[in-house]
C-alpha cells in the first residue's frame, strides 16, 4: 500500500548493496550502454586492422586493446554507479581537483604526439587526456555550486560555476582543443538552462548570436566562404567528409558486407572520428539507425527520470552528464553527414580510445548513480502544497 502511494520502493535498513543496486538502477540505460560498447568492439574489428597494418602491428592489436580498456571501463562504470549521490559529489569534486591540476600542468609535462596540440600525458602503455576526465568532474562541481544557490542563505553558485567554466574553456582553447571546450561550454549552458536561466537572458543570447552571425556572414569574406562551402551541395571528394559521404552512399540500407568496406583504408580517422562511416558502409543504415536509437534512449530516458528528481544537485548533475554524452555523439555523427562543420570528436563507447573509454565509463557510471530510483517524498509535496 505504501509503495503504491509513494511510487517508490521502500529500502529496508541494511539491505545488501548489490540487490539494492540492481533494483534501483536504470536497467534500460545500462543495457543500451553495454550494447553500444559491443557495437564498438564489432566496428573495431572492421576499422582498426588498416591502422594496425600502417603501424606494423598484428591486425587485431587495437581490437584487443579496446576490449581490455572496455572491460576496465565497464567495471569502473558499475562501481561508480553503485555510489550514493553524496559520494558521487565528493569523489567528483576530488576528481575535479586532480583533473584540473593535470590540465594546468599539461604545458609542462604533456606531449603533443606530433599532432600540434598538447593534450595528452604519455604513460608509456597508454596515453591519458585530462580534459576527458575533467568533463564529468566539472559537471559535478558546477551542479554542486548551482544547487548550493537554492539553499537559504547559499552562495551565488551559478556565478561561481560560470567563472570556473570560463577558466576551463580558456585553458582548453589555448591548447587548442575547441571540441572539448565547446562540450564544457555546452554542458554548463544546459545546466544553467535547467537550473532556471531567465527567459529574457536566453532570448537576448539567441538574438545576439543571430545578429553576430549575420554581421559576420555579410562582413567577413572568410567566414562567409566557410559557411557557403559548408552549405553548398558539392563535397570535395578528397576530404575526410567526402570519403565519409561516399561510404554512407555505398553502404545503402543493408551495407556492402562484413570486411568489404573501403573507406577504412582511405580515412586516417576511420577508427575514431569517422567510425560511423565504417558502420554505414559495412553494415548499412540498419546499424546506424540502431546506434542513433541507442544514444537517443540513453539521453531521453535519463532526462525523463531526472524530471521526477527533487534534489537540485542530482537533477543538474544528471542533466549535464546526459547532455554532454548525447551531444558528443550528436556532433560526431552530425559531422559525418555534414549537418555540422568538421570537428574531431569521438563517438562515446564506440570509437577506439583508451582514456576516452574509461572517462566515458566514469561519466555514465555517475549518470547511472544519479538516475537510480530513490524516495522522492511526493506525498510530502502534495501535503505541503495543500497547506499553503
Amino acid at each position: 500500500m505504501t509503495e503504491m502511494v509513494h511510487g517508490s520502493i521502500p529500502v529496508p535498513a541494511g539491505d545488501p548493496i548489490i540487490p539494492r543496486w540492481w533494483r534501483t538502477i536504470d536497467k534500460i540505460t545500462l543495457s543500451c550502454v553495454l550494447i553500444l560498447f559491443a557495437i564498438g568492439l564489432l566496428l573495431g574489428l572492421a576499422s582498426s586492422p588498416p591502422l594496425a597494418a600502417r603501424n606494423h602491428l598484428p591486425p587485431f592489436y587495437y581490437v584487443s586493446r579496446q576490449a581490455v580498456f572496455g572491460l576496465m571501463a565497464m567495471g569502473v562504470m558499475m562501481l561508480v554507479s553503485m555510489l550514493s549521490p553524496t559520494m558521487v559529489r565528493r569523489l567528483g569534486v576530488l576528481g575535479f581537483a586532480l583533473a584540473f591540476a593535470a590540465l594546468a600542468m599539461l604545458p609542462v609535462l604533456g606531449t603533443d604526439f606530433g599532432k600540434g596540440a598538447i593534450r595528452w600525458y604519455s604513460l608509456g602503455f597508454a596515453s591519458f587526456q585530462p580534459s576527458e576526465f575533467l568533463k564529468p568532474a566539472f559537471v559535478v562541481v558546477a551542479a554542486w555550486f548551482m544547487a548550493a544557490s537554492y539553499e537559504p542563505g547559499g552562495p551565488p553558485g551559478r556565478l561561481f560555476s560560470f567563472g570556473l567554466m570560463i577558466v576551463i574553456v580558456l585553458i582548453l582553447a589555448l591548447q587548442p582543443d575547441f571540441g572539448q571546450a565547446s562540450l564544457i561550454l555546452f554542458a554548463w549552458g544546459v545546466m544553467y538552462f535547467v537550473s532556471g536561466a531567465p527567459m529574457t537572458l536566453l532570448s537576448g543570447i539567441a538574438a545576439s548570436v543571430a545578429v553576430a552571425g549575420t554581421f559576420a556572414y555579410s562582413h567577413s569574406e572568410h567566414f562567409a566562404r566557410r559557411i557557403d562551402g559548408f552549405l553548398s551541395a558539392d563535397v570535395d571528394p578528397r576530404t575526410q567528409i567526402g570519403y565519409a559521404t561516399d561510404a554512407i552512399r555505398e553502404g545503402g540500407f543493408f551495407g556492402v558486407g562484413l570486411g568489404e568496406g573501403q573507406v577504412k583504408w582511405s580515412l586516417p580517422d576511420a577508427h575514431t572520428d569517422f567510425i560511423i562511416a565504417v558502420a554505414a558502409e559495412e553494415y548499412g543504415m540498419i546499424l546506424v539507425i540502431l546506434i542513433i536509437a541507442l544514444y537517443t534512449v540513453v539521453v531521453v530516458r535519463s532526462l525523463s527520470r531526472l524530471k521526477r528528481e527533487r534534489d537540485p544537485f542530482i537533477r543538474l548533475a544528471g542533466t549535464g552528464l546526459a547532455c554532454a554524452f548525447g551531444v558528443q555523439a550528436m556532433i560526431n555523427m552530425g559531422v559525418a553527414v555534414r549537418l555540422l562543420p568538421a570537428k574531431g570528436m569521438t563517438l562515446p563507447f564506440v570509437s577506439y580510445g583508451g582514456s576516452s573509454l574509461i572517462a566515458g565509463g566514469i561519466a555514465v557510471g555517475m549518470l547511472l548513480a544519479l538516475t537510480r530510483q530513490r524516495p522522492q517524498n511526493a506525498i510530502g509535496d502534495f501535503l505541503s502544497s495543500r497547506g499553503e
Binding site: 538552462f193 535547467v194 532556471g196 559521404t245 539521453v299 531521453v300 555534414r338
Partner: protein, 593 residues
C-alpha cells in the same frame, strides 16, 4: 508577487504574549519560502527537461534522416575538382547574317609534361624537338631534368602531331582536351572579328578570351554558359564582305595607296553589311601590336572605325542639307563664289575658279569650297555644331566593336566662325569613314537618324528626324547630279543610279600645316538614288593615280572608280536588280488588248 511576510505581526505578537521566541517564527517562514522557491525551480526544471529531451530527439532524428537520405541516394563517381570558378572552354560561334560561320571552335589537344613521371627525359625531349621544330631541345632537357613538376609543351597540336607524340610512349607526356578558336574565312572580316587568345589555362580546359573587335565586345555573351551556345549573329554578309575587301585591295594597289577603308551600310536599319580596312591580318594568327612607331601603321588598326581623317568636301552635304532644312536656301539659290574668300589672314580658294555665282546644286556638283563656306556663314556656329552633333559626328560611334571608343572625332577646341567655314568643306574636323557613312545614311534615308550596328536587325531604326523628307529628296537629286555631271562621273554604274559626293582632303603634316602631295580621298555614295537602300563610303589613304602625265590624287580619279567597281560587284550580291533606264516612249500608249 505577493509574498508571505517573514515576520507576520499577528503571530509574533501572539508569540510574545505567550512568552515564545519570535525568531522561531521567522526561521520557519524562511524555510517555507526556500521550499517554495525550490518547488518553483523544480516545476520549471521539469518543463525545461522536457524541452531538452524533445530537442535531443529532434536532433538525433534529423541526423538519422540525413543518413537515410544519403544512404538512399545513388553513389556517384567522385568528381575531380569542384572549384568555385571552373574554367569554361565553351565559346559560342559567330555567324554572318545568312548563318555562315565566321568563327567557331575546333577540338584540339594541348600537350604537357610531368617530369617526375618521365622515364627517359632526355630522349623524350629530343623526339619532341624533332616533332615540333620551334621547340628547343636543350631548353626541354633542362625543363625535364630540373625540379619542375609541370611543363607546358604546346598549347594546341594537330591530330597528326598528337599521334607522333603518343608514339614516343613516355608516361610523363600527357594530353589535355582544349578548344581552339578558328576563323574559317581567314582574313575576311578580320577587323570585325578581332581574334581570340587563351585566358586562364588548366590541364582539362582553357578559357578563350576575345582580344579585339566583336570577339572582345561580346566576350561575356559568347562565354556565358547560360546562352547554351547560342551563336552571335552579325549584320555582316560574308560574300559582300569578301567582294568588298577584294575590290578594295585591287583598288588600293592600282591607286598606290598605303591604306584603304570601305563601309557598306543599310540606310534604314543601320546594319553594316561590309566593313573593310586594309592592310588586314589573319585572326587565326593575329600579329603582335606594334611597340614602336604609329599604331595606325599596324595591320591591326581599323581605319574604318579607329581612323579619323579630315574627310574634305564630303562634308559640304551637311552644310547644304542644314541650310535647306532651315529654309535659308533652295537648291536653285545663287551663291556668291568669287574667290578668294578672305577671312582675317586666311584665304579660302576653290580647286579652280567657278565664276561669280553658282546655284546651290552646282556648289555641290562642282564642289565649291567658297560656296559651302558662305552657306555655313548663314547657318552660324552654334546651329552647325548642334546639327553635326545630332548626326553623331562629334562623338565616337556606338558600333559594337571594342575599338569603337578609340575612333573619337577631332573637333576644333575653339569653334570660331573660321572653323565653321572650314568645317563646311570638311577641314578642321576629323571623323572616321564609319561616322560619314552613318551621317549620309541619316540624311538620305528620308531624314531619320540611324546608328551603325554590327548586329543583325529585323526592323528599320525609327530614329529622331534630322531633316525633312523633302530635304532628303533634294539632297538625293544633288548627289545624283554629282555623279551624272560632276566630280564623280566615274562613279556611274549603269542600272544602280549611284549618287554621291567626293572629298579630297590634304593630309595634315605632324610638323604643322598640310602636305602638298598627300591626300585622303573619299567617295561617300548611296544607291539607288531614287530610293537609297545602301550607303557606301570608300576612303583611300595617300592614293595617286599615275596612268596620266601628272599624278592625279583627287577622289574623282581614285576613290570613285574603286567605289564604282565595288557597287558593280556588290549590287547583285545584295539582290538589287539593275534598273534599265528606258527612254520615255512618247506618244505610244500601252494597252492591254
Amino acid at each position: 508577487m505577493i509574498r508571505a511576510p517573514l515576520r507576520p505581526l499577528a503571530r509574533i505578537l501572539r508569540a510574545r504574549e505567550n512568552g515564545e521566541n519570535p525568531a522561531r517564527i521567522e526561521r520557519e517562514a524562511r524555510l517555507k519560502r526556500a521550499a517554495q522557491v525550490q518547488d518553483r525551480a523544480r516545476a520549471r526544471a521539469e518543463t525545461r527537461l522536457t524541452v531538452m529531451g524533445l530537442l535531443f530527439v529532434f536532433a538525433f532524428a534529423s541526423i538519422g534522416y540525413r543518413m537515410a537520405t544519403l544512404a538512399g541516394s545513388a553513389p556517384e563517381e567522385p568528381r575531380a575538382s569542384v572549384s568555385n570558378n571552373p574554367i569554361i572552354g565553351l565559346r559560342a560561334d559567330i555567324l554572318d547574317r545568312n548563318g555562315n560561320i565566321l568563327a567557331t571552335n575546333l577540338e584540339t589537344n594541348s600537350v604537357y609534361a610531368q617530369p617526375p613521371q618521365m622515364i627517359d627525359p632526355v630522349g623524350t625531349a629530343r623526339k619532341l624537338a624533332a616533332i615540333f621544330p620551334e621547340l628547343n631541345a636543350d631548353q626541354l632537357i633542362r625543363d625535364f631534368t630540373g625540379s619542375r613538376k609541370f611543363v607546358w609543351i604546346r598549347r594546341q597540336i594537330s591530330p597528326e602531331q598528337m599521334q607522333q607524340v603518343h608514339d614516343i610512349g613516355d608516361p610523363g607526356i600527357l594530353f589535355g582536351p582544349r578548344e581552339m578558336r578558328i576563323y574559317p574565312n581567314g582574313p575576311v572580316a578580320s577587323h570585325i572579328l578581332g581574334g581570340a587568345t587563351y585566358g586562364r589555362e588548366g590541364v582539362n580546359a582553357a578559357e578563350i578570351v576575345g582580344v579585339a573587335g566583336v570577339a572582345r565586345q561580346f566576350d561575356s555573351f559568347l562565354r556565358d554558359p547560360a546562352n547554351n551556345g547560342a551563336p552571335l549573329k552579325l549584320s555582316i554578309d560574308l560574300s559582300v564582305q569578301a567582294a568588298t575587301e577584294q575590290v578594295l585591295a585591287g583598288g588600293m594597289s592600282l591607286m598606290n595607296a598605303k591604306g584603304a577603308a570601305a563601309v557598306l551600310m543599310d540606310v534604314h536599319t543601320g546594319e553594316i553589311l561590309a566593313l573593310a580596312s586594309l592592310p588586314d591580318f589573319d585572326p587565326n594568327n593575329r600579329p603582335r601590336p606594334l611597340t614602336t612607331g604609329d599604331a595606325s601603321d599596324s595591320p591591326l588598326f581599323n581605319r574604318a572605325v579607329q581612323g579619323v581623317y579630315e574627310l574634305g568636301s564630303t562634308f559640304k552635304v551637311f552644310a547644304v542639307a542644314q541650310a535647306l532644312q532651315l529654309g535659308l536656301i533652295t537648291p536653285d539659290t545663287m551663291i556668291d563664289t568669287r574667290g578668294p574668300l578672305v577671312w582675317g589672314k586666311f584665304r579660302i580658294n576653290d580647286f579652280h575658279d567657278y565664276g561669280s555665282h553658282l546655284s546651290v546644286t552646282d556648289v555641290i556638283v562642282e564642289s565649291s569650297n567658297i560656296g559651302a563656306a558662305r552657306i555655313a556663314q548663314q547657318i552660324g556656329t552654334d546651329r552647325q555644331r548642334a546639327f553635326l552633333g545630332s548626326l553623331g559626328l562629334l562623338d565616337a560611334t556606338p558600333v559594337e566593336l571594342a575599338e569603337a571608343p578609340g575612333g573619337r572625332p577631332l573637333v576644333p577646341p575653339h569653334w570660331s566662325e573660321l572653323s565653321t567655314m572650314t568645317i563646311a568643306y570638311g577641314h578642321g574636323i576629323a571623323d572616321s569613314p564609319l561616322h560619314l557613312a552613318a551621317a549620309y545614311a541619316s540624311i538620305l534615308n528620308g531624314g531619320t537618324l540611324v546608328r551603325p550596328t554590327l548586329l543583325k536587325q529585323d526592323h528599320p531604326q525609327a530614329g529622331p528626324r534630322i531633316v525633312s523628307e523633302a530635304v532628303s529628296e533634294q539632297m538625293r537629286q544633288m548627289l545624283r547630279a554629282v555623279v551624272t555631271r560632276g566630280t564623280a562621273s566615274f562613279g556611274d554604274v549603269p542600272g544602280y543610279q549611284v549618287a554621291g559626293k567626293t572629298g579630297t582632303a590634304d593630309k595634315p603634316d605632324p610638323q604643322g600645316g598640310y602636305y602638298n602631295d598627300k591626300v585622303v580621298a573619299t567617295f561617300a555614295s548611296a544607291f539607288p538614288a531614287n530610293d537609297p537602300r545602301y550607303v557606301l563610303v570608300v576612303t583611300l589613304d595617300e592614293p595617286s593615280e599615275t596612268t596620266g602625265g601628272a599624278p592625279k590624287r583627287t577622289a574623282g580619279w581614285t576613290a570613285v572608280p574603286v567605289a564604282a567597281e565595288m557597287i558593280r560587284r556588290v549590287g547583285p550580291l545584295l539582290g538589287l536588280r539593275p534598273q534599265i533606264e528606258t527612254p520615255d516612249a512618247a506618244g505610244i500608249q500601252l494597252s492591254s488588248n
